[in-house]
Symmetry: C2
């Protein structure tokens, strides 16, 4: 794997500027900004929080990702002349022209972001990011930040579940680009699936931009494009360095034909049933990539054609001291077929005394879901690596996370939305968020407090969020995909298994402090006029926080 270079880092930043220009937002952000500006309120200090309301996929946790791109987006937040001209054309005629000059000058220099680190295990209703700054500016950021966090966190969480289902014995390859929701859906899926615990991607651009290991050998079209052995050219291959066969090219075609006869004899198979075009395709590929021979063997029939053709070519490669890698199965009952494939590998390995055949791998890639991965742990099979596409990248179990971005404070006053759905109401006020660890270092509670409260005195209390952006600058090191991938795994490892069960997990506790609860009750109880008159005790910094278990 190549680590991202400064060149690719610059490419990622350019790509963010282009994929997420400040016009990629909802129109109402601009109408609201105008109304704030018109009322002279645009520079009032305001605080928004980003969170989601329930853990995805019926699970007990989520992973937080997308921060890296949020930070690049913030650093580049600025409108061009063309942007502003377009906005002028869509805001109602008669809007004050001075507003558009104001927009043209806007940037993120007044914005501060405190955030959970990228790759952390997180839970519903915990404010993951706190975005504070001038009211109009932090309002304008809403849609873009949500768009960058929502899918990133969703697909990373999905990948982590696939990894939990698969365990670490099997390799996981993401290969969903063609089925993703748009080109960037595919690129994001590759990036965040890797962070979530996948090993490789088929997506070349993701490899280039994020240093993710890339994988892939051939499609069925390659196999079916061949008809007969005359199409194999060149037909010979120089043995691997250090082989005892010398360095003269060997006729691999004749060798494989011989091996095909011997394999069929050993297995009691019918040589005429092996597709000649398929043998030609395998030979041609093996000659091109003698060290990377891993064909797809189900273009015609696995048992009567693909498998014997593979063995014939792989045994020939072994003769020339190359190590064939294995096979890919892409249709039918993967578990059942993998047993038969392994049986044949063992038979050939033993029958022809070729030890290399005992380390061949079997890759399965047919409409894999979280459930089918789980079944691999229960059903007998010999699958070493799994390629996952559609269900991973589209998160078909639940294709949206539902992050929201809510106003919690303006000019120091706590703000709250109530609405007709009680579960859509928000927790007012600027907060501190603590994660409490038990004696074993395992998290057992996330506690939301007023920002001015002292840290709780129960167990070890970690501040969950750090300042990551201030005065137009990223104030926390940007991390590579590989670094975030490590955080994901260490963060998941610390989480007790009862919260990691894929079905019916125990719910992790998220609570608010007594003081925050008092504010919440007060704002909720308040009728008209009260929203800015809640007595928030901002002076009492010495009182002990007794961790009242007020569930959010």
């Amino acid at each position: 794997m190549a680590a991202p270079t400064s060149e690719t880092c610059a490419a990622v930043e350019r790509s963010i500027r282009r994929r997420v220009p400040p016009l990629l937002t909802d129109l109402y952000q601009f109408t609201m900004a105008y109304a704030y500006w018109r009322a002279g309120r645009h520079n009032e200090p305001a605080v928004f929080e980003l969170f989601f309301r329930s853990n995805p996929f019926g699970g007990g946790f989520s992973l937080f990702t997308g921060l890296h791109d949020c930070l690049l987006f913030l650093r580049n937040f600025q409108f061009t002349d063309e942007d502003v001209e377009y906005l002028r054309s869509v805001l109602p005629p008669g809007s004050d022209p001075a507003f558009f000059s104001y927009l043209r000058e806007l940037d993120s220099s007044g914005v501060t972001v405190r955030s959970v680190p990228e790759g952390a295990v997180v839970f519903a209703r915990v404010p993951l990011m706190e975005v504070s700054g001038p009211l109009a500016v932090v309002q304008l950021l809403e849609t873009s930040l949500l768009c960058l966090v929502n899918y990133a966190s969703l697909v990373c969480s999905n990948a982590a579940r696939f990894r939990l289902a698969a365990g670490w014995r099997r390799s996981l390859v993401e290969m969903g680009l063609r089925r993703a929701q748009g080109p960037d859906g595919g690129l994001s899926a590759s990036r965040y699936s890797y962070m979530g615990g996948f090993d490789m991607t088929s997506n070349v651009l993701a490899g280039y931009l994020f240093g993710i290991p890339v994988a892939g050998t051939m499609a069925h079209s390659y196999v079916t494009s061949f008809s007969c052995l005359e199409e194999v050219w060149p037909q010979s291959l120089v043995p691997a360095d250090g082989g005892s066969g010398g360095s003269d090219p060997v006729d691999l075609l004749s060798l494989s034909r011989d091996w095909l006869g011997r394999v069929c004899e050993l297995l009691g198979a019918e040589p005429g049933a092996a597709h000649e075009g398929e043998l030609a395709a395998f030979l041609s590929y093996a000659i091109a990539f003698p060290r990377n021979f891993l064909p797809v063997i189900d273009s015609y029939s696995v048992a009567s054609s693909g498998l014997v053709n593979f063995c014939a070519v792989a045994l020939s490669l072994c003769d020339l001291h190359y190590q064939p890698l294995g096979v890919r199965l892409d249709s039918g009952d993967l578990c059942r077929q993998s047993l038969e494939v392994r049986r044949v590998f063992r038979a050939c390995g033993d029958g022809f005394s070729v030890p290399a055949f005992h380390s061949l791998i079997i890759v399965g890639t047919n409409g894999i879901t979280e459930q089918s991965i789980q079944e691999l742990s229960k059903k007998e099979n010999e699958i070493d690596a799994v390629g996952v596409g559609t269900h991973l990248v589209t998160c078909s179990q639940q294709p949206s996370l539902g992050c929201v971005y809510k106003l919690v404070e303006v000019r120091g006053s706590p703000k709250m939305k109530m609405t007709e759905d009680p579960e859509k109401s928000t927790v007012p006020g600027k907060k501190a968020v603590y994660r409490l660890l038990d004696a074993q270092g395992q998290p057992f509670l996330d506690l939301l407090c007023l920002s001015e409260e002292p840290a709780p005195l129960v167990g070890v209390a970690l501040r969950l969020r750090q300042e990551v952006f201030s005065q137009g600058q990223i104030t926390h090191p940007l991390r590579t995909a590989a670094e975030v991938r490590e955080s994901v795994q260490s963060s998941l490892k610390a989480l007790p298994p009862r919260h990691k069960r894929l079905k019916d997990p125990d719910m992790y506790t998220v609570a608010v402090s007594e003081k925050l609860h008092a504010v919440l009750k007060e704002v909720r109880r308040s009728g008209s006029k009260l929203n800015d008159k809640i007595p928030v005790d901002r002076g009492d910094r010495t009182a002990q926080n007794d961790v009242g278990l007020n569930h959010v």
Copy 2:
């Protein structure tokens, strides 16, 4: 609505180059291209077909979109030095350096594409695009073309179903950007939802790039950011031109306070229950946008606060000869609330003799699904416009279409994949596709023939595909989103209602001609070596095609 300018067209093309660079593909496309090149087969003429295997969402049809971007992608298909250097680093060491020079020189000048027009109603198993050209090049195009067609067609089809469910009496607004699968998922959703029959989008960038009408007024955060009437500034508004009240500014705050009293009296409501901050927010917005007053009225309580505050401000606007637009409901039981809201509008309109109150609109926007839209036709309600987000843009009913791209011919020989799943096998050979219309001009059958067969003599037979790309050039006019939107509706209009039922539709017939069926049987029956020896009768151009109903 602004039509896209040449400036935005250029911006769209730049955006495609950036979003879909030729590295955005699967690694195996390059390993296969290398193996073809190594065997001297890279320039063999080959034909691929793009199709999907079943109609999405359990429906009877799909819509084909994404072609515009495919054509721009093809026109720009070229590798940079950086691309090639990266590929060199990920292909196995020892790969022939001449291959990378070959890649650097590649372009789409040898590629020809015949395609169904963008916006056409299409059906499962009909080859929508035929991509022919040098084997290695058309293979390299696979993933990118699939990625561009798959989600575009899916979300357009989804939008068309929402439109069928809603009928044309209600406006449909797409507002899913924040919940979409990545920034481009959001942009594509806005664009193709519009093509599928939505009227507007909240997405400003989609408006800018594609000329889609944009909509939006305010979020809850705007409402909750206000606490008291002192925050309203300015408090006065100049009456609309032509108003009899003259052109001196009127104190809208006092006027609205008076109206609030009168509204509460009329409705028997408690004035003290109306949230003062909400009234301040509505006033401030109305003063900023007196001709675009459409607030969200559920930040606290619709009945006791939002509705009376709206009426007070809207009646004040009417006094000043402005026409308020209406309200948005974003939580709770939308149908039930809309009845109450309409009742109040009528009561005010009649009680205060304000005719403008009889044309106010009610917008509903709370987790709308296809099913909830359908319910609007059955349940009593007064909702005039619906905003749809998550379920539209993520296509939560079925988040992937499953288009595939299959090799059907190399050097004039038909090719086919069989695999262990019979339903994954392909129909070999280069084809012509006809859509047969009955006497009423309604399509009743899509017929796949050998490309050399004469047109069928049953009914009116339209060639479904046209050449759209040849010799590196787009040979068919690119169409705007608005033009495709019209095609979608006329194409859907021609389709008999039995195929448009959202549940349990009658399946439209897709058949293969007798001659194509013979080829299919022959290739399927063939064992080894036979793939290139199928007798395709390419001379018999006069024989009548008798439309054998061989279902695909």
